[in-house]
Symmetry: C2
Subunit: 516 residues, 2 copies
């Protein structure tokens, strides 16, 4: 019997055979055998504390029992037993542990639905906004402060989220956590110093399943934590979770998955093979580049379109508030609009004759007024400089070159991909038509771009709700071939060609009409 197919969740109700002089197996083994009979395959191990509660529970319920299981690699762990006549209160916590933001989702392990959800700032930002600063900090203090910061935040959020749902922290039986390799190492209290020095060795690729309590996480005493495995220092569990969520590894047709942050991480593959690479895409898309650049939030320009009637571009802000900045998707829209309107040329330079009053020279540098002082939250012009656009162009060129390189390596054509998964906030907010217009993404029909949302959180959730996931996750990890991006002359040539809008080779972007 397949141990996974027969399980709909990690909660299993069982009727045990009654003991007799002829059948005098111990209570513990009686239950383990019944579980084993349902699951087959892997052995079942129980917490002693759980076993110790069996004698009275079984005799009270007439040998009917509800089991809360957790799937480790080579065994099932029996985390808890209860009376099946009571409603189940077993919860799981899925976590996307991002460098900047941490997303948490409380899941009902029985019904497999979301109970509550929240996103918070990663409190480690206090120590340093980026990974490198944090690793250096951990080298100095042994990592204790950074570990404490994140563990305390998790504990606070577990309390808050469970309280909101009318539960308490002790109902959380399982934690599934995905993050990049540095973030997970810092959570686990592992030394990151060798990750940033050649040959870039993490302490662990596949963190062991352990008791959440071992990390100081306050949940059910037997609660286990699963931390998604990484492929290396620069390809983390967040991406493994993303692949897992996307289903890339289950598809017959080859598809691509892109996760854009400071690095662009790309996975190409199908059910037979997975090829991954990562490269610096620049901070332009994270809102870190322009004076007014920011992450998506209230009052941030997230969309820009051309208003034919007015003969000018028009923007939209999140929450319809007066604009106070512009995020990655807004910037890409803006660049596409400027390019189509001829206000920006194929090199990405602002065209004074077409920009009119929107072009302002400040210290001899061209600036474009995106929103006029009277429209903005601050009462000042919201502008982007030519340098900001240059940075965006470099980012988009880097992104395209990475995509081109990985598909070329596999002898494939970017424009023939049947599906292009885009992970993260970037995937949700970006208008693929704009991204294609500026040559950041390949010229595929818009419907082939599939936004995945927070694929790391979704992957972590899937682990908690689909029994049998762990083996699948390990298969993904083990199946990935990591392509070391060799920044040689050929790569630089492709990068230079991609620095034009949409590209020096216009045949690659047949759908993009280049203005006169």
């Amino acid at each position: 019997m397949n141990d996974v197919a027969s399980l709909k969740s990690w909660i299993l109700d069982l009727d045990l055979p009654l003991p007799s002089l002829r059948n005098n197996t111990a209570d513990g083994e009686r239950l383990m055998e019944a579980i084993g009979g349902r699951l087959g395959g892997r052995p079942v191990r129980a917490e002693l504390e759980v076993v110790s509660r069996l004698p009275s529970l079984l005799r009270e319920t007439g040998y009917r029992v509800r089991c809360t299981l957790f799937e480790d690699r080579d065994r099932w762990i029996l985390l808890d037993v209860g009376d099946p006549r009571q409603p189940s209160s077993a919860l799981g916590l899925a976590v996307d542990l991002g460098t900047t933001r941490v997303s948490l989702r409380l899941v009902d392990l029985c019904a497999c639905g979301t109970v509550a959800e929240r996103t918070i700032d990663n409190p480690q930002v206090r120590v340093g906004p980026d990974i490198l600063t944090r690793i250096h900090h951990a080298e100095r203090d042994g990592g204790g402060e950074l570990q404490t910061l994140i563990v305390e935040a998790l504990n606070r959020e577990i309390k808050t989220l469970t309280a909101v749902a009318g539960h308490n922290a002790a109902d959380v039986h399982a934690v599934s956590l995905a993050g990049n390799t540095a973030m997970t190492h810092l959570l686990l209290g592992l030394d990151c110093r060798w990750m940033i020095r050649e040959p870039y060795i993490p302490v662990v690729n596949r963190p062991p399943v352990m008791r959440a309590a071992e990390l100081g996480i306050e949940a059910h005493p037997a609660a286990r934590i699963f931390v998604f495995p990484n492929v290396g220092s620069y390809f983390g569990g967040d991406l493994i979770a993303g692949i897992f969520h996307s289903g890339l590894h289950r598809r017959e047709e080859t598809a691509i998955l892109v996760d854009v942050g400071t690095n662009a991480e790309v996975v190409l593959g199908n059910r037979d093979w997975l090829m991954a690479c990562a490269g610096a895409a620049g901070p332009a898309l994270e809102g870190g580049v322009t004076r007014f650049g920011m992450a998506a939030a209230e009052g941030v320009i997230d969309r820009v379109r051309w208003d034919e009637e007015k003969g000018d571009f028009a923007w939209h802000t999140i929450g319809d508030q007066p604009p106070r900045g512009i995020c990655g998707s807004g910037l890409i829209d803006l660049a596409a609009v400027l390019f189509r309107a001829g206000m920006m040329d194929i090199r990405g330079k602002l065209v004074p004759s077409r920009c009119g009053a929107r072009l302002k020279m400040i210290d001899d540098v061209a600036h474009l007024v995106v929103a006029w002082a009277e429209e903005t939250a601050s009462g000042e012009d919201l502008m982007i400089a030519q340098a900001d656009i240059d940075s965006l162009i470099r980012s988009k060129a880097a992104m395209y070159t990475i995509l081109e390189t990985i598909t070329m390596t596999m002898g494939m054509n970017l424009n023939e991909l049947p599906a292009f998964f885009v992970a993260g906030t970037f995937g949700v907010f970006i208008d693929p038509v704009s991204a294609v217009t500026i040559g950041m993404l390949p010229d595929l029909p818009p419907e082939r771009f599939i936004p995945l949302g927070n694929s790391s959180l979704e992957g972590a959730t899937r682990l908690l709700t689909v029994p049998g996931s762990l083996a699948e996750i390990d298969r993904i990890r083990d199946g990935i071939t990591y392509l070391e991006l060799n920044v040689n002359q050929a790569f630089m040539n492709r990068f230079s060609a991609a620095k034009f809008l949409p590209h020096t080779n216009r045949a690659l972007f047949p759908s993009v009409r280049v203005p006169e």
Copy 2:
């Protein structure tokens, strides 16, 4: 590659391949792969704490590492890592957890030799001398007091034993413990109440391997404890350990193993099958029966022989001190001597005409003076009453009947057994010729009786020193067929026939010359 054959102990020194850009596996997986390459088969799991020490250790030793492993049922656990240039200090503790006495042996896990050894009284005796009293006590208080008593005693002894050997408690990486089902349940804090009520169900047959710290045992933080599995409430891990030590289950020829205490526990079998049973043998052999009966100790009569010169019997005491009591082996010798001298008849009754001055009537009950007042420690006559002898006769009859029943069930003849293992103090002290003379043991040549000593402690030690033992122990446990002694008319008839010296059927004891 066989994972067991290649391991001489749980300590494994390894040279790891150096990391490079081409081989950038994490430190943890690098080590796990090397261990897996040596052991094959089962997966290797490491403590996170151990993994966390790898980065600095590996870079300091040039990727040479000493691993301390522990064998769980379905995995190897990496308990500790160290510098192979340092001497190993990893110790294991073998424990025979008896109802009355607790024997402890400290073992060097690398050299696989004994480091120190000690036997103490089970401190639970304070609560109650026998199992039943303790179980009732645990029912009232939840078992906490009894658990605390034994755990504290173990901690004291670990401190003492390690200090004697120039080590400390944190060097103890593994505990291997064998005891009867009640004693192990009380140690584990498990509810014993259903063990003593029909249908006699223990909480667990196969206690999980767990961290010693979970039981409050103070040792290395990652130290694991293995508790020998039981077959049921009345066939405990001490006996499994005994079989494991005797090698009964590895022999081609069928042999028998007997462990005598309040119960006589008997296992008959070979490498293909094992049949077990247990029955009340009475307290006569534990020194609990006569006024002067006691366990083996200084000044206790342990041997009695016939002195032809004096025409009287002569005794020997442990430590050659003035006698103050008589132990089981002394009592059996005495009975044999009395029987051979005609001082006791075939019914076990003292013969006044042959006992002479040694026979005294007290309150109309015949007593035999074993040692005269002027010889004894107390200055009083050391006597046994006819009732004491009657009790011994019942014990020996019960023992023989159990042996007869189990061999008859398998269609075998007791007198044809090629080997007869006798476990425990009983086996060490008893003179098989005396036991045969009174018909307690079958009439086999003396050399076929093989004393095993503390086979429970030896079995626990073997687990620590012979990798691969756990699977063998589970095979023993799973292979045992338990014969429920059906005390029916046929059994009672055999018992009555065995109440004579040596037996009503003299043909069963051809070597015993019955006096006129």
